[in-house]
Every structure is written in C-alpha cells, then in structure tokens.
Symmetry: C2
Subunit: 614 residues, 2 copies
Amino acid sequence: MNAELCWLPFFGEALPQGRDPLAVAREEMALGMASLAGASCRLACVPGGGDGFEIIKDEQGYLVRGGETGVLYGTYRLLTALQAGECPLTAWTDPAFPLRMLNHWDNMDGTVERGYAGQSLFYKNGKFDYDADRIRFYGRMLASVGVNAVSINNVNVHAPADKLVTAELLPEVKKIADLLRPFGVRLIIAVDYALPVTMGLDTADPLDQRVQDFWKKQCDEVYAYVPDLCGFLVKADSEYRPGPYKYGRDHAQGANMLARALKPHGGMLIWRCFVYNCRQDWRDHTTDRPKAAYDNYAHLDGQFDENVILQIKNGPYDFQVREPVSPLFYAMERTEKAIEFQLAQEYTGHQIDLYYMPPIWKDILADLRRMPRHICAVTNLGDDANWTGHPLAQANLYTYGRMAWEGKALDGDKEAERWIALTFGRDFPEKDRLKAMLAASQGIYEKYTSPLGLCWMVKPHLHYGPDPEGYEFSLWGTFHRANHQAVGIDRTDKGTGFADQYPADMAAVYKNTDTCPEKLLLFFHRLRYDFKMRDGRTLLQRIYDDHFEGAEGAEQLLAQWRAMEGLMPRDIYENALNRFEKQALNAREWRDIINTYFYRFTGIPDAHGRKIYD
Amino acid sequence: MNAELCWLPFFGEALPQGRDPLAVAREEMALGMASLAGASCRLACVPGGGDGFEIIKDEQGYLVRGGETGVLYGTYRLLTALQAGECPLTAWTDPAFPLRMLNHWDNMDGTVERGYAGQSLFYKNGKFDYDADRIRFYGRMLASVGVNAVSINNVNVHAPADKLVTAELLPEVKKIADLLRPFGVRLIIAVDYALPVTMGLDTADPLDQRVQDFWKKQCDEVYAYVPDLCGFLVKADSEYRPGPYKYGRDHAQGANMLARALKPHGGMLIWRCFVYNCRQDWRDHTTDRPKAAYDNYAHLDGQFDENVILQIKNGPYDFQVREPVSPLFYAMERTEKAIEFQLAQEYTGHQIDLYYMPPIWKDILADLRRMPRHICAVTNLGDDANWTGHPLAQANLYTYGRMAWEGKALDGDKEAERWIALTFGRDFPEKDRLKAMLAASQGIYEKYTSPLGLCWMVKPHLHYGPDPEGYEFSLWGTFHRANHQAVGIDRTDKGTGFADQYPADMAAVYKNTDTCPEKLLLFFHRLRYDFKMRDGRTLLQRIYDDHFEGAEGAEQLLAQWRAMEGLMPRDIYENALNRFEKQALNAREWRDIINTYFYRFTGIPDAHGRKIYD
C-alpha cells in the first residue's frame, strides 16, 4: 500500500480484514476510536435496515444502530464527524438513492480512458494485477462516503475485457468482488453487446432466441461466481460500439433482453443513453447533437423492464464545462433513470487545473426539479499514490459520495471544510484559504475556457487546452459557427428546436435572451458580438473580461497555493504546486487564444486596453 | 514476390541473381531482349567509366559500352527505350549527380513514418524481415532509373534502429547491402547522435576524445561488414532529436566529428538542415520558422569537412504544397549540399489524391539557378503490392530517378508518356487521357488546398484534409494569422525579413506584390481580401475560384479514371478508383471548409453565386 493522501488518515496503516460490513465496522470503530482518547462506541445491527443508520449518544458513549451496511456507514459517519470536530448526532438516516455508483473507465491493458491519475487500479498488461490492500483501502474510501456500486471496466469494452462475464475471467472478478463486499460495494460489469458474436454465434440480435439463451447462460455463470453482482452496464450503438440498431431493434428491445437475463439473479441492466450521430456533416444546420438523447429515447418511455436503468449524462452534449441539464430527465416518467456525472476532469482541466465540482452540481441539481432515482459518476481515480493526480481532486470523489447519499445539492463550502479538516487536519492553518480556492475554482476555470456555454473550443481528442475551431468542421456534431458578426447555434424554435425538448416553462426561459441564464446564453442562442449583456457590456467585452479574469484567477490560485508550503508533506505540496503552475500557463493560453480568436473576427480591442495579441 | 505493378513488366517473373552490375546487366539484357524479337546486344565494360555509358547501333545490333555500373544503367536505358518505342541512340552519358539518393523513413517495428503504401520493405516487429526477391526487384527498379544510394532507416532513429551501426545488427545490414550491391545501390544508415550515451559513455560531445574514438571504432566495425557503405545520415537537434547543441557545439563541429570517422573508409556524412525552434510562441511575430535553416547554417560556410553534405529540404518550411526554394541553396558556396524532395505525399494527398510531381519540381529547379551537387528524396514506397499505394504514384519514383540522373527539370509530359508506355503498354488506348490526368494533378491539388503559398491549413499531425486553424496556435511556428481583413505573414523587410535571405534580385522580386509570383503571394505577403490580383479579381474571389475549380478538377479526375475500366488488371483499376473517389470527397471538403473559413471572416459571397456554406 502506497497511498499518500486520503480523507481518512486517522486509520493509519491498518486495514480491516473482516468478511462482512458488520465485521469491518467493528474493526474500523476500534481503529478509529483509538485516536480519539476517551470516546467509546457500541454497534447494533438492525436486521432489514439496509443502508440506513442512526447515531445516538447516551451515558455509555455513542451507539451506532444500523442495517447490514448501515452500521458500517454509521461508523464512518461517526468517526469522520468526531475527527472533523462536528456533532455526530443524527436521526435515523437513509440514503436518497439505492444505487450510488461509480464507473471506472479502466482498460485491461492498464490504461484508463480519460484517466489523469496514473494507470488502472485493477489491471496491467491485459490481466488483473493489483495490490489487494489498495483495493481494500479503496473500499474503505467508498464506504466512508456511501458509494455502493462500482463498474470495474471501461464502457468502451476492449478485448479481453469482453470476457469478464465468462468463465475465463470470472474467477478474477470474484476476487475483486470478495475484496469490496465487506465494504458494502457491489460490482457492475460493462459488457460488449456483440459478445454473442465474439463467442461464436452469428448474431447478437436481441430478439433471436439463441442470443437470449446465450445471455441467460452467461448470467447464470456470472452469478455463480458473484452472487451479489449489481448488474451490467452497456454503451450500445454509440461512437462505433455495437448495439441493437444493427439488427433493426430499438433500445427497449435491446436493453430488455439483457435485463431479462439478469432478472432472476436480481441484477440491474444499466443502459447508457449517449447515442448520437457521430458522422455529422458540418454543412448540415438542422441536425443538432444535443437533441439526440431525447430523440433516441423519449418515445420509448414505458417500454423498458423495471430492472433497466437509463444512465443519462448530466448535460445533452458530453460533460462540457457549462451545459443545461439534459432534457431527457424531464421526460420518460415511467422509466428508471440515473444521472451520470464525470469526476474525471476530461473537459475540466485533466486534474492539472483545480476544479472543485459542488458549485456546478448545485446549478445542475437546481435545474433538475426532480432527481432521478439513481446516480452515477465516472471516477477520477488511478494508481497515483494520491489516487487522483491532483491531491485536491480527491475532494470531488468525497463530495460526490456525500451528494449521492444525500440526494441533493450540498453546500460546497461546508463539504470542503470537512474534507480539508479530515485530510489536512482540523487545525490546518490555511483551511480558510484552501476552502476559498476550492470554492473559486469552478468559476475561474469556466471563465478562461469556452465562453457562456459555447462548448467544444478545446483541443480535439486531448480535451485539454484551447483550439477554437478544433471541432468546428469535424464529424462529431460540435459546432459554434463563429463568424465576423456572431457566434453560437440558435437552439430555439427559430433554430434547431432543441429548447422545445424542455417542459414549456423552462423552454420559454431558455428561448428568451432576456431570461436565459447568461452562463448558458451561447448554448441556446446565436448572438452578435454587440449583443448587450444585462449589465450593459457587449457580448464581446464580456468574453474578453471573463478571459482576463479567469487567467488572473489561475495566477491567484498559484499564489495562494504557495502559502501552503511547509504545511503538508513536501511531495504533496510540490505535486500540486507543479499543477498550479501548469494551470496558470494553460489559463494564459486559453485567455490569449480565445480573445485573439474573437478579436481577429471583429477588430474590436479590449475596452480597458489590455493586451490582445493579433 | 508479389509486386503487381511496375514500369518494367517486360522482365516477367525472372530476377537477376548476379553478384555485380556487369553480371546483372548480362542477365537483364538476356531477359529483356527475349521479348524484343530479333534485336541483339553486346555489352562492353569500360574500366574506370563509373556510372557513364553510351549506346551504339551498328550492323551487329546494339552495343552498350559503360563503366562498372554504367553498363547496367545503359542496359536498362536501351531496354526501356526499345520497349517504349523510342530511339535508344545516345552519346556518352554521365549522370549529373554522383549521389542520387533515396531516404526511407522506415522504423524497425515495421511502420513507415509518413508512409502511405503499407508497411516497411525491410522490417517487421523490431527485426529485419523481408522477401529477398522483393529487395532484388527493388534494386532493379532503382538501377533502371539510376538511383544509387539508399538510406534504409528513419531519420528519426528509434531503438533498436540505433544499433544498425553496431555488431548487433550489422550482419543484417550486410545482407541488404549484398542484395542491392549488384544493382549499383549503396546503403546509407541514419544514425542517432546520442548513440555513444546509449552505449555507455556519459557524453556525445563531438569534441570529447572518447566520443571521437567511439565513432572511429564504430565506423571501423561498420565498414568491416559493408565496405562500400555510402555513409551516415543525421537529423540532429531537430524536433527533439539529440545533437551537438546539447554540448554547446555548433553543427560544423558536430558533423565534422562524424565525417572524420567515416573519411578513412571513403564514407560521406549527410547532415540534415531541418533545424528550427519547434517550441515557438504564436504571440511572437518576430521569430519566423522559414528563416531557421539559413540562420542556423549560412554562417558556417567553409567550416564543414569535404565529405560532409548538408541535406536541405527544397523549401524553407517542410514539403508544403507551395513554397519558395530554400534560401540556403543560394548561400554556402564552399559547402557540399543536397536538395531533398519528398516523394511520400505527406502534405500532397497521402497517395490517395493524385499528385504527379514533375511540374512542381520544374518550378523549384527553375528558381534554384544552380543545382546543388547532390539530390535526395524521401521514398513513397512500402510493402503494398503496387509499391506506392496509389498505382499512379509510381510515376513519381520513376521521374525522380530520371531527374536525379539528368540533373535538371524534365518535361513531365514526356516522362509520363514513357512511364505509361512502360507500365501499361505502348498501345495503351487511354494513354493521352492518363498523361493529361498526371499533368493536371499537381495544379488541381494546389488549387483546393492552402491558397497561394499560405501553407499549414492541414489537419495537424495527420496532414491530410483541411483544418484552417489547426496549426494556428501551435508550437511549430506555422501561422497565417488570418483575420477579418487580411491573411498571411509579411516576410519582406517590413515584416520578418525572410525575403532578404535571398540574393538581392530575387528578394526584390519576392518583396514586391507586383512581381512576386502569384502562387507565392501569401507566402511572402500579408494581404487584404480586397487585394487586386493581376487579372483584376480580388484575392478573396481568387481563393474562392481556385477552390471551386480544384474540387471540380478532382471530380474530373474521377470521371476520367472511369474511362480506364477494363484496360488494366481489375485490382489495379479498382485500387485507384477507390482513391479517386476519396480524393473527390477530400477536395470537396477542402473547397467548402476553406471557402467557408474566409466567408465567415468577410461575409462576402462568391461573385458567381456558387454555394458557400455558412
């Protein structure tokens, strides 16, 4: 075990070895209480209580009462509260969501798709290859914030990971399941829809009896090894992945077939809705990629089996810095849905740039109106000693778990405060400064990248650093169509009509430039550079200002981090320092390239005389 | 042997097995004459006659008199002339250049850097792995057009190719040398300047005695295996390759050290001048990459040993579609120079798009004034059955060899006519159409790609297809700085001063927009879109026109190729047909993206009402 940073340092080097959550809870309580002189605690398991728990203080000390996994969650809640100096007294608490999921995008060659924290925790060179203690520690981290289901392989299933559901690799999957089960964590396996073909059938058609039999048999085999498997995760007919469309079947037919094979075992079928035309012609102004998920799925409402969950990305594009909520969340009343976030900072700075997510989650959840019943996030984890590359990126994993438990937007500042206290100590001298850095980071990043919901001005494929026209003529349906007068796509009813996928009152707000949130103006509207923002500035000047301010913000983060020198282990400090230096350069590059890009179209200089390169 | 196309089909399947050029000449003459009923020929070797030869006709038939290799060249000249129906009588002929070189950019893993005709002819999976007969056939092709030196590995030397000059791989190098020697072809090895460090020294400093001793010893070893090795080729201090700059030494010091190690063996040291700052800041308007070769080398004139050849790319950038000649050719009077062309169609259509090179070579050589003493080209070859991917791309290898022999620009039409007659037969029914296609192809390609010498509007790294701003903010020093009013870099004395690297009279021509060749206008000048071209059109309209015409030209090439159906083996026809179809799409993409790019800046529509997408 070589993990250098975590929000649970008070456990020290010891790891629980118990075979079930209650046993682990007992061990953790003993380990955790050891550092809290004088405190004592009893555990009481409530059969049938599931994930819920309560913490009671009486004359004998603390009592954690909870269900089979609840007792473990309560233990961590109590210990972290005491360590952070908070009052741990709570009424009986149940998590808002039954499934609180993380998706790994790990490939069996050891790489992690969109991973920015080293290599896979599970695989190397095409095989399972891991440190069992590190997996246990990972289980502890997950349980401490309530995450209870983990998919262990990339949704883009590359061989040999397609064999994870076969006897060839199931013995290895079982070992991971056994390591994580005591922490209340169940596994999900991402499956390849074309597996029947790979395994010798001439079709993967979901209506073909042989295909149905194939998956039934496969599920029997899977559950013989891992009886509590949470289910399968599928990315079908998306970005060149195989799927039911190939056989002229719709996605309800495609998903239900797998769901029925899982059903006898109590498994869920989680079906990603990231389906769109990835061969779009930029000359075509009518096709609009953000409309795709709704267009592909909304009409299928009511046709999915009850153990199917549609997993929908938070926005209609693809984890961009600023998007509206996917309109699919407001549709499909009779369908189980999960909202998918991305902790991996694919478009948000690669865990080089600081980007603390609770503020953006708050915006998203505020717009959602009603939460879907499930929640998921792509992890930001790898085998880096600090788990997440940027030491401060851990805060996103921590707060994601907390949000998934509570089922609502949390106060990012308060969560940051607790995470800092746990990670760097209650008496960390610069805790307020660090909290302020986290709080400011999302806004800073948003300011120096694509303006006002415009999206896709990022370097193609890499997705770090600016390239204003990098996606402008590509096949991905990612256009902004900037010219010498205006920029953006009109997504109102006068344009692509995307806005009308929302409930009427929301659509009305988005479609009107007077009411559309300014941060989303260029997502919904094509605007002239002299468009007047609500504070009187022109759109162009607002873009300039944001970019100057964003780059200045990145410089300030760097300066603020320097104040942390000597307050933590040197390698943690230096690791982050190096990233803040890179972020400042990145922000400068964004500032200058975006400003120059629009300056070259307009010839209009900055109103405040700041340097825009020509 | 599985080569499906060549300009020497009359030899049939047989291959010469002789150990020296005279023996090969005798075999080839017998094989070739067999198909020419009634003709007869004698060979006479003139000791000391080298590459030169003459062909005489007398009452006994033909007599080829020539030097040790000349007799072989004369044999091919006679046979190809007779096959093509030409009169073979020539006075004594010597090649214009002593070294007529080809560079392979083959890696030992089997890939070919910027290769568009399959994998390497020499290597697979990190080892030598080839068909000896195919290497013999390759030798025949080279000798038939007079190429006499071949570098067999990528100038970017990736391990294990760095060991080609060590005992580890020299036995394998010797085998290739032995296969090609009978065809008069000598080997060149591209070496890694840092090899001394790889082999255990702590430095590669050219002034360090241990480094000098290392290379002397290494050369002794090399020449023990390959006594007639032509020499070494070095890309140093370029695009992250190691070189003498690391040790504070200049390139004369760096090159001479290697040259002195080669000298006792009669070897040449070929030193590439492709040195520039590849970490340039786009904000910097003063650094200008085309100036780099001149700035790095011109002042070193007279300091290179006599067995050093500076290998200079034809243009100051990097094999772009249209560049002026590198100004370095007009400098360094006391230095041996080679001009480097690129047959591999890196920027000229990847051997998908038709691009017959003699017309552009003619422009280049016309500007050169005085040819350098050596000539080189990056090959367009791979293990595809037709050698060059596009069957018609073979014509570029053929005409390159012819040009290297003659030492001057050749009539592209006449060369095409002979190549067509040899390849498809003297009576090929569509020979005029095919010749016209070849003749038009360079102009068509130039029209639909970057306009008027602007360069670098190509997709980054891939270098196929349009991306107008793909290199605009990169580190490679490749900018055009288009804005709403103007485009291009001012390279006159009012701008970067690049034009003043030319002799005064040429500089004067380039610096004046009235006299600068229009095809190079945007290489030397920054011009407003309303700049009046000599025929009265605006620059913008000229750009539009060229792109419409270029795309139309590509459509015509496709239509013309369809007329070839049934006139050649089906797979050759279909292979090229598929490429012409792709070219038409590529040209359409270039047309629309380049036109839209400038339309978005200006809002000015096409004067003839043709569709420009917005």
